[in-house]
Symmetry: C2
Subunit: 349 residues, 2 copies
């Protein structure tokens, strides 16, 4: 960090993909990653690194993840961040056995709600769930929204190799739509049945595997008709949509051709084009992508009103990246939308 960043002129900076972990779950992760007691090579690769490495980067991330108080607030102040929308770090409770997962999601939600109560102008929070028990996930969504005042649902891509286009998970979407809670689809490392060619080259994590896994998940949700069934469901994705904005034309072309050809009997016609869902049901954050060409490209092909700021604290705590986004070549009104009011609207802050 080279400088202290002051308040922005004319807008509050709300960061929308900001991670934490309760120390209890941190200990469980360390045990899982080091004991071999989990059949998830991506988890072992990622969390084995972040939680047990002695490198400066890993230690910094590990310590900051566990803080929901003064250290985090000081980092936010130094980087000019007015508010963080907190979420349980990937892969959340999704790697745990169902009963433990349900308990850990509840614990995480109690902790984030407590942080919001202590610092209501600086923090908002999303609901962690255990999708491996959809009925309990729905209960926790209802508790999080009505009793804890949380503002969205965080899901870290696949749950032990299963994807949300599987109808057994659709009660989660039904609850989200009914309660008007956006579902943030955050990356996870690819599942065991996909990760090998990434892992053997060190490309399984944020450098590439995250994007592929999450882009695939978005497309599965769209093409299996989730938004035809839940047209008012809103999702949020980071990293500027995992590059799907780049593919809009090709996705429409290939989806239309594939459906027409009846190549897969489970790929049915949709009410709208793939790109329509990507423009009308998804919002996009700039987590990890503080790069003007990709931001303005996404704004132009998706819509100025669909792209908002995120930092990805503490994984990418780079205050200079805030200044880079302050300097985006967009109007003052669009900048206030980008940093503040779009997040306020989407998460109903």
């Amino acid at each position: 960090m080279t400088e202290r960043i002051g308040p922005a002129p004319g807008y509050r900076r709300i960061a929308t993909e900001e991670a934490f972990i309760p120390p209890e779950l941190h200990r469980i992760y360390v045990d899982l990653a080091t004991s071999g007691g989990i059949d998830d090579p991506g988890f072992i690769s990622l969390m084995g690194y972040y939680l047990t490495s002695t490198s400066e980067r890993a230690r910094n991330v590990s310590e900051r993840l566990q803080d929901l108080g003064e250290r985090r607030l000081a980092d936010m102040d130094a980087a000019g961040i007015d508010m963080q929308i907190l979420s349980l770090t990937s892969p959340g409770a999704q790697v745990l056995k169902p009963d433990l997962a349900v308990a850990m999601a509840r614990l995480a939600n109690d902790r984030v709600a407590d942080a919001v109560r202590r610092h209501p102008t600086r923090f908002a929070g999303m609901i962690a769930i255990a999708p491996q028990n959809p009925a309990e996930a729905v209960k926790e969504i209802e508790r999080g929204a009505t009793r804890l005042g949380l503002k969205g649902i965080m899901i870290n891509s696949h749950t032990q190799g299963e994807y949300l286009d599987n109808p057994k998970f659709w009660p989660i979407f039904e609850a989200a739509e009914a309660l008007r809670l956006p579902v943030y689809l955050h990356p996870n490392t690819p599942p065991a049945k996909m990760i090998q060619p990434f892992l053997e080259a060190g490309l399984d994590g944020a450098i590439y595997g995250f994007a592929v896994e999450t882009g695939l998940h978005m497309l599965r949700i769209v093409t299996q008709g989730v938004f035809d069934r839940f047209p008012n469901l809103t999702m949020v994705v980071g990293h500027l949509g995992e590059a799907l904005p780049f593919w809009l034309f090709r996705l429409d072309y290939m989806h239309r051709g594939t459906v027409m050809s009846k190549r897969y009997d489970f790929m049915k016609p949709l009410k709208k084009k793939v790109s329509d869902y990507l423009r009308e049901n998804f919002y996009y954050t700039t987590s990890g992508m503080p790069w003007e060409p990709a931001i303005t490209f996404t704004q132009s092909v998706i819509g100025m009103d669909r792209v908002m700021y995120a930092m990805d604290y503490p994984y990418q705590y780079v205050p200079e990246e805030v200044l880079a986004q302050d300097a985006l070549p967009i109007s003052d009104a669009d900048k206030k939308r980008f940093f503040q009011t779009l997040a306020e609207d989407v998460f109903r802050l």
Copy 2:
């Protein structure tokens, strides 16, 4: 097709990713895809569809792939294509047992050389190889370049789950660099150890799996130091670089952090940034991506001088897409570069 497209004013249109298959290999593919005699679910999904489906799209593709004469020339005339640079369709000889693969690559190269001899102003060709036998592949590259007059090397991503960053394949790069032949890295479906989450949703092919598989392959080649070892090696990729231009910032950021952290002992420092190799060692074609926003984005972040035209005949034979690219918002000089002279330079036509 709605209209006949005339010659362009001021440039020849050279299409650079245009596929064919010898009827002998077509029959082998049909046998493989229908007999279950191959452990490659992506091949069975893709070629089982294109070569055996009775849908109009599949029949059209299957018939056109096998023609290197009048039908193809008539299609080129109707679409205003002056020249096709021909290549053996994906996955080429790469799915076959080694001896058969070597023989089929030779057969394909003899056929394409014959087509070029018959129509030297309309066709150029690339060399098919069997990477599963690197020594024979090198011999065939030398034969293709010196005796057959072919202009590049076509490799269809992974070879039975193996990637070109494996040093056993590096004699192929050495020969390509020595003979100044560009290596065109074309998509294949993901290998068995990766494809399952794509396949179960019908997303294994051109709609998404192709892009992921090829983007991963590009990154493996870059990050394992192929271009530090062969700095004058030139590669060509389709589909506007499989979206890697969208990721330039993040690839550099994450690669730098990963190398510094020593998270993977096999991920070594490189002489240059990942984005430098993507800008200096790769050329990009518009196959399947006739969409102005993505083309101009790629031109702006990679370089106007690195992006050239391709159609992806016969898979995406849509003459209107030629007109869409005639209408790109670039200067006449840049358009001539895009459609004609860049291909002439890269392939040394």
